[in-house]
Symmetry: C2
Subunit: 148 residues, 2 copies
DNA sequence: TTATCTGCAAACCGTTTGCATATAT
DNA sequence: ATATATGCAAACGGTTTGCAGATAA
């Protein structure tokens, strides 16, 4: 799956950047690293993380950079809550998320279940699911949060 | 499934409104009817539809009314595109949607497949899916639109 | 009569854009 | 040298809110 970049080849993306006519800037390195560090983060949170080390990044650059990194396949985004989208790195294979409305817990759908879901839609519906973008809202059956 | 209101009992919702301490207004009737007419509509589109017959509705009232109607279980919303959410009436049973990114086609997931999906998550993941809110993005395998 | 509802306009949040400046190549 | 990238501030689209006036009960 070409969508996943290899974490051990930490340099190749810089070449990909240049190869596609883009420039390697400090901001781009900082944003990518922040996404890697944070796990699932909104543009705002990425900015905050980057600004722990330097203030040399603006919010618009964060937006522009996240778009670019997504084009290059280095990050993906999903919609885990009503607010902003969250970005995460593509070092792990694409997976769907479940989000519990009661306890707020976010879980990644297991690899086999993801595959099963994709297969079901492909064979049953003639539809290729963009599984990385898929967020399934609902409630944990055993969730301990105050019932809605 | 208590979420589905019976289209043949077109009056009961007025009683439900009053029973919950709310008032029956012309705007609320107009908004509900517009949602029924339109199928899947954004707040903006609902406003436009309502204004075909009268201008006596404001956008903020549309928002407030859609929220209320959703609380009462008369409408539901899903996120079928990047812009605004779309509202539809609950006269048909809850179902997920698939949205093709190439041709833009929106399909309702069939009843049996919806049930299968819900059962899979319930039994396999201990998770109760809010299927009415679920939108699965991807691409039709046989879609005729220009390839992305 | 009075609690609820409405319209309006302003505020809000996340995001995008135009433009002058800075910088990687 | 020059095309690309950046920061800033303004604009944007969708949504929410405060408040004074209107209206269902």
């Amino acid at each position: 799956m070409a969508e996943t970049h290899d974490a051990t080849a930490g340099d190749s993306w810089r070449e990909r950047l240049r190869a596609s006519g883009h420039r390697l800037t400090a901001q781009r390195e900082l944003v990518l690293q922040a996404v890697d560090t944070l796990g699932h983060a909104t543009p705002d949170e990425v900015l905050a993380e980057v600004r722990k080390s330097t203030s040399a990044v603006s919010l618009s650059t964060v937006y522009r950079t996240l778009d670019l990194l997504e084009e290059l396949g280095l990050v993906r985004h999903a919609h885990l809550h009503d607010r902003a989208p969250t970005y995460h790195s593509t070092t792990s294979p694409p997976h769907a998320h479940t989000v519990c409305r009661r306890c707020g817990r976010v879980r990644e759908l297991s690899q086999p279940r993801t595959a099963e879901l994709v297969a079901t839609f492909r064979e049953g519906e003639g539809f290729e699911v963009d599984v990385a973008h898929l967020t399934v809202f609902g409630t944990c059956l055993d969730c301990e949060a105050p019932a809605g």
